[in-house]
Amino acid sequence: MFPFRIPIKDWISAAVDYLVSELGTVFDGFSAFIFFLVNNLKDGMLFLHPLILIAIIAFLTYKMAGWQIALFSVAGLLLTENIGMWVPFVETLSLVLTAEILVMIVGLPLGIYAARSNKFNTFIRPILDFMQTMPAFVYLIPAVMFFGLGLVPGVVATFVFALPPLIRLTNLGIRQVPKELTEAADAFGATNLQKLFKVQIPVAKPTIMAGVNQSIMLGLSMVVIAAMIGAGGLGTNVLRGIQRLQVGEGFEAGLVVVILAIILDRLTAGLGQRKKVKQE
C-alpha cells in the first residue's frame, strides 16, 4: 500500500545504540550504584536469621495493619522458609524495595511538580499513558542493552513500570486538596514551601500512599517478568516451572509471590490510613 515504510524500529535502535556507545560510562556508574543498593539490602536481610526477619516483619505489620495480618505474615513466611523459598523470597523483596525507593525518589517530586504546573502536567500525562500501556516485556529490551543481564536491568525495568501510578496519584492527591485549605494558608501568609509541607502533602497523604501501594504492586508483578533477563528471585522459579512444565514448583513460587504481595499491600495501605483510624 505504501511505497515506503516509516523506520521507527531503525530510529529507536539507532537512538539506543547511540546512547549505549556515548553514555556507556554513565550507565555503568548507575548500574554499579543500583547493584550496590540491591546487593547490600539482600545480603543484609540474608545475614539475619529468617526467624529474626520474620519477627521484624510481624512487628511492622502488627503496628501498621493489625494482628490478623501479622499472624498471616508469620504463617506465610514460615511456609516460605519451609518449602525452601527463603532466598528467592529475600532476593525478590530487596529488588522490589530498591525499585520502590527509586520510584519514590523520582516520582514524588515529579508528581508534586505536575500538580503545581499545568504545563508540565499536560506534558507528562501522555508519557505516563505510554509507559503504562506499553507491554511490560518491551522494557526488558532497552534495560538489557543499557545494563546487560542480571539484577540491575530487572530493577530498572521494574522502576519504569512502577513509576507512573505514583506520579499520577501524587498529582491527583495534591490537586484534590480543597481550594479553601490552600487559600487559608495563603491568607495567613504561608510561603510556597510551608503550604506544600504543612498543608498540601499532609492532606494528600492518603492518596499519595495509595500511589505507593499501587506502584509496589505493579513492581511485584514486573519482578516475575524481570526473571526472564536474569534478575533472579521468585520469578526464576516460576520461569523454570514454565520451561520444564513443573507445575508444582511454579505454583509454590507463585504462592510465595502472593504472600509477599499481601504483606506489602497491607503494610502500605495501613500507612495511608493510620491517621484516619485514629480520627474515628
Partner: protein, 416 residues
Amino acid sequence: MKEKIVVRNLYKVFGRQPGKALKALSEGKSKADILREYNQVVGVNNVTFTVYEREIFVLMGLSGSGKSTLERLLNRLHEPTSGEIIIEGTDITKLSKKELREFRRNHFCGMVFQNFAILPHRTVLENVEFGLELKGIARQERRERAMKVIEQVGLTGNEDSYPSELSGGMQQRVGLARGLLADASILLMDEAFSALDPLIRRQMQDELLELQDKMQKTIVFVTHDLDEAFRLGDRIAIMKDGRIEQVGAAEEIISTPASDYVRAFVEDMNRVAILTAGSIMEPVRDTAFPGDGPRTILRKIRKNNLTGILLADTKRKLKGYIRAEELVSHINKHREMEKIPLIPELIHQPSVVHNDLPLNEVINTYNNTEFGPVAVVDDNDRLQGVIVKGAIIGALAENADGGSAVENGREDKETN
C-alpha cells in the same frame, strides 16, 4: 473614625483579555454582554468604598454578585485587574509577592471560610496555632496563646481533638480562633456561618459580636443572608453584578434604598427588629419655650393643628408636655389677667425614648402612653423628633407581608 481599608475603582475580570473587557465596561456594556461578546467574566466592576477601623463591614449579595471575589481581592487571593486597595496607607496592589506575604502576616488574621477550611490532619490546638507557626513563633509561646483563644471561643477540653470529631459549629469555632489568634487587625470572613444550621448560626453571630467587643478587629464579613448582614454589620454594602448598589447602616438602607434593586431586596426584611426610634421619628413641628406665656403656646398649638406641644429649652433639652385642652381651660379661667402664668400643673411628663431603641420596644412605650406623642432624644437628652401614630403603622404596613419571606430566606443556602 480612622480609615482602615480604602478601595478605589477596583475591577476584577476573569479571562484572558481583561483589557478588552475593561474597555467595554467603560463604554457602558453590561456584564452579560461582555460575557457573550468576549467570553470574559466581570467579577468586580468599579467598586469604591471605605472600611473604618474596628467596624464590622458586611458585603452582602446573592450568588454571583461578586461579594466573595471582592473579599478575596482585599488580600489579593485574587489579583485585581485594575484599581487601588489601600490598607493602612499601603497600596497592596503594588506589593511584590514577598512583600505581600509579609503584609498578609502582619495585617490580616487569615480568613474564615464557609467550609471551615481547617486542616484535617491537625488537632484543634495545632490548627489554631497555624498562623503563629507560619511566622516562626516558638512552640511554647504559641501554645500558651492558642490555649487562651481556645478558651475564648469555648473550645476548652477539645484542644486535642481532630476536626472530624467536632460538629460544624465547633469546627467553625476552630476557624474563628485561628483567625483571632493572629497578631493582626483585619479579619476576613467568607460566608463563615452559612453552612451552619439556623440556631447554631444565630448563636455564633452573637458570640462573634461579643468577641468583637473584646478583640476590636476590623472585620469584613461576606454573606448572602440579609438577616445576618443586618445583625452583624455596622455598615453594609449591597452588591449586584459586581457593583456596590448601596453602602450604609441597616436603617439607612431600609429607610432610603438607593435603587429599586435594594428596595426589592430589603422589602423582605423584618423591619420591627431593625428599625429604631430614630429612623421612624418625624421632625418636631414646633416646641414651646419655658419663657412662653400660655397664649403664645396656644397659638403655636393651633397654628400646627396639634393636640398638645412639647416644652423644651433653647438647648432643645426636653422639659415637659402641655395638652391643648388643659391649656384652653386654664386660659379661660384667667381670661381677665393681662399676663397669665404658666403653672406647673399644666406641664406633664412626656413619654421619652432614646433614638437607638428598636421599633418593637418603641411600640411598647407608645402603647403605654396615655396622651401626646413619644418624644425621641439623643445621648445628651436633646429632643430629636417625635413618634406619632402614623409613623409606626406606616413602618409596620410596609413589612406586612415580609415576615414569612424572611423565614424562607434564612433557609437558603448559597450554592456557589
